[in-house]
């Protein structure tokens, strides 16, 4: 097994005439956290969704662990869907608006994927799910329905649901953007714990201070390309590109 968990090269994606990604290349070493920064419309969310094949890139190669998909050569129909599904199974996704299943209890939200999609034994999955709920501080909410939880609690269930799939990497798409400010902290601290426990994560966020503290690698995107990359110290501390500086000035003023 390689130490590079994620390898992305030459990723292109357009929606109609709009070129959203124009050649994205990066790697994510195992056990590290990578934060994608950038103004809205820069393509950072599309990069993240491409890793989970929620958006299908037009060209380029994505490898996560030992599953690699070359989107230029993705066959049509069933074989293509199967390849996409294999790549998707490598990652767990946490959405901006949690997307919990409202008609299922918290515990059922966690066990649905492992039991139904992965076909694992239910007793084992339930035991693991309870450990995960404990880990995100919601052991007592197993039989609650999502509407009975606060926004922060819902998002923590969303994180636990992603982890229950035992993914190689965890992807976070602006996990705190939809939350009330006072609920942001509890979610960020869970993500931070995961990163320090050795999970490989890719995070899209606007929380600069959080990004600074959690990231091993930062990628600044603008106009569908990576404009600047490096450690938080490099990208936030000493940005070289004018576009990065402008972006940081704006978000730090507001933050």
């Amino acid at each position: 097994m390689t130490d590079i968990r994620i390898e992305v090269s030459g990723l292109h994606k357009s929606f109609g005439s709009l070129d959203v990604l124009r050649g994205i290349d990066f790697t994510v070493p195992r056990g590290t956290s990578t934060v994608l920064l950038g103004p809205s419309g820069s393509g950072k969310t599309t990069v993240l969704r491409s890793l989970n094949v929620l958006d299908t890139p037009d060209r380029g190669v994505v490898r996560i662990d030992d599953v690699s998909v070359d989107f230029s050569a993705l066959p049509a129909g069933k074989a293509g869907r199967a390849a996409a599904q294999r790549l998707r199974a490598q990652s767990g996704m946490v959405f901006q608006s949690h997307n919990l299943f409202p008609h299922r209890t918290v515990l059922e939200n966690l066990t649905e994927g492992p039991v139904v999609a992965q076909g694992r034994p239910i007793e084992e999955v339930v035991a693991e799910a309870r450990v995960l709920l404990d880990q995100v501080g919601l052991a007592d909410k197993a039989s609650s329905y999502p509407y009975q939880l606060s926004g922060g609690q819902q998002q923590r269930v969303g994180i636990a649901r992603a982890l229950a799939l035992k993914p190689r990497v965890v992807l976070f798409d602006e996990p705190t953007s939809a939350l009330d400010p006072e609920l942001v902290g509890e979610v960020l601290s869970v993500i931070k714990d995961l990163a320090s426990e050795g999970w490989t994560t890719v995070i899209v966020t606007h929380e600069i201070r959080f990004a600074e503290s959690v990231a091993d690698q930062m990628l600044f995107l603008d106009g569908g390309v990576i404009v600047e990359r490096g450690t938080p110290g490099q990208v936030i501390g000493e940005p070289r590109e004018e576009r990065t500086q402008r972006f940081l000035r704006r978000v730090l003023d507001h933050g």
């Binding site: 996704m93 997307n99 299943f101 649905e112 994927g113 999609a117 992965q118 799939l165």
Partner: protein
């Protein structure tokens, strides 16, 4: 000893002389099996109160048996099966208004005539414009569209309004919507006797040859036929037949020209209350045995079809979505009655022949599918895209996503409009009456045709429909509450 001998000889002489030869020749009277419909009022039917088999033909044959010394056993048989039953020896005699015709004369032993019928013209009481068949030219008459009477009326230059049965025709005539009716005098007499109506009357003969109703036996049973004929002649002579006829028709139909009904006395019409009481149960049976199963089955099948059509409609494959769109458009763009007729009367012409219930299920479930498909489609589309994405990130495939994630949530949106579809369907099943289904509405029609109690019977049928709708609405409310429990704190 001498006296005993003389008494015995006297008895023997008496038996030989008496015109009842059956008793004379056989110690044990023979059992004669009588085939009859039992569902053909007023000739052969079950009394609504006592459930006993009765009617004009039944009483006639009982009187014959009394004269001829038969013991009777009634075998109730559908009309279509009654002659085969006679051929097969399962019955010995048919008493069911069998008309004499050359084919039957050749094949069967037909008795002397016990009922004469002929075509008559019926008018509103006192309407002097209509006296004979010639007066029908340019007038409007009400007839069963396929009957021979309709043809006679048309040939006389009348415009024919198609109706179902004589009671409906009589109602139209009373209301002044038509000018006359051409029909069998027995049907008219039965109507007049049952309803006691004085609003319509027989104006005159339709000028056609009359027909004669007889008992039918096997040709080989000559002895039995002889007994029957002797008994009929005797019953005519002693007035028994006239009495039975008067009881049912207020006229003597056992002679060739029995005249019109004398309604001055005798059997009166049943009260509205009696009619309702005796019809409530058959209507309930129609509801439970036909209307409800038809609704439930059509709705269940229709929903499955609707789901498939909705999925086809939102699929990215042009051919599928185009076909679904066309199906929905056709179902919603044509009358349900027409769809029912196509399935019931049309499809048999290309070899697809269903029994009435199946045909109705096919037509109704396709109709439900057309309407519910749009409901299901919009309900599926109302589920947030994030739910589809979340389902696919945890690895669920398309059908798992639909079944486990999307449809349970779509159900919440779909239940109110689908409940409307279900209520409409329940009421639409009344159209099943036109494809020979004896469901709730048909039962009320049959009873109304017999009793003329249109308002009471149709209102009563409406009450049944309404009650079921109320129950269904209550069920809808409970289901909505149940489905909303995930989203309402």
């Amino acid at each position: 000893m001498r006296q005993v001998f003389r008494g015995a000889v006297l008895l023997l002489l008496l038996l030989i002389v008496l015109p009842a030869p059956a008793n004379a020749r056989q110690q044990q009277p023979p059992v004669v099996k009588i085939g009859t419909e039992g569902t053909y009022p007023p000739f052969s039917f079950h009394d609504p109160q006592t459930q006993e088999l009765t009617g004009y033909d039944i009483e006639v044959v009982k009187a014959i048996a009394a004269k001829a010394g038969w013991r009777l056993e009634f075998v109730e048989t559908q009309w279509d099966a009654v002659f085969p039953a006679l051929d097969a020896g399962r019955i010995d005699l048919i008493a069911n208004q069998v008309s004499r015709n050359p084919e039957r004369t050749a094949k069967y032993g037909l008795s002397n005539t016990y009922t004469y019928s002929r075509g008559v013209i019926v008018r509103r009481t006192g309407d002097d414009r209509i006296k004979s068949i010639a007066d029908l030219s340019g007038k409007t008459t009400a007839q069963s569209s396929t009957s021979n009477w309709a043809k006679i009326a048309r040939d006389a230059g009348a415009r024919v309004e198609a109706v179902e049965g004589f009671a409906q025709a009589a109602a139209l005539l009373q209301q002044g919507r038509v000018d006359a009716i051409v029909n069998d005098n027995i049907a008219v007499l039965d109507y007049l006797a049952t309803t006691g109506s004085k609003d319509v009357e027989i104006a005159g003969d339709a000028g056609q040859a009359g027909s004669e109703q007889v008992l039918a036996l096997r040709k080989t049973d000559a002895a039995l036929l002889t007994q029957a004929n002797q008994a009929i002649d005797a019953l005519k002579a002693d007035g028994t037949l006239r009495g039975i006829s008067q009881k049912y028709f207020k006229a003597d139909v056992s002679v060739e020209d029995g005249g019109t009904a004398d309604l001055s006395e005798g059997r009166g019409p049943r009260s509205t209350w009696d009619v309702l009481r005796s019809t409530a149960w058959p209507m309930f049976v129609g509801l439970v045995k036909v209307t409800i199963p038809l609704t439930a089955l059509s709705f269940a099948i229709g929903l499955v079809l609707a789901l498939l059509v909705a999925l086809a409609r939102i699929s990215p494959y042009r051919v599928l979505s185009g076909a679904a769109r066309a199906f929905i458009s056709i179902i919603r763009g044509t009358p349900l009655l027409l769809q029912l007729f196509i399935v019931f009367y049309g499809l048999p012409q290309i070899g697809l022949k269903f029994p009435p219930f199946t045909a109705a299920v096919v037509a109704f479930s396709l109709n439900v599918a057309g309407y519910a498909a749009e409901v299901v489609r919009s309900a599926i589309l109302s589920v947030p895209r994030g739910q589809f994405e979340a389902a696919s990130t945890i690895g669920l495939n398309y059908s798992q996503t639909l079944r486990r994630i999307v449809l349970p949530q779509a159900a919440r949106t779909a239940v109110p409009p689908l409940s409307n579809t279900l209520l409409s369907l329940l009421k639409d099943t009344s159209l099943g009456s036109v494809v020979l289904l004896t469901e709730l509405f048909r039962e009320s029609q049959l009873a109304a045709a017999e009793s003329n109690e249109f308002l009471a019977l149709y209102s009563f049928a409406g009450l049944y429909y309404w009650l079921i709708c109320v129950a269904l609405s209550a069920g809808q409310k409970r289901l909505e509450t149940r489905l909303n429990r995930y989203v309402i704190a």
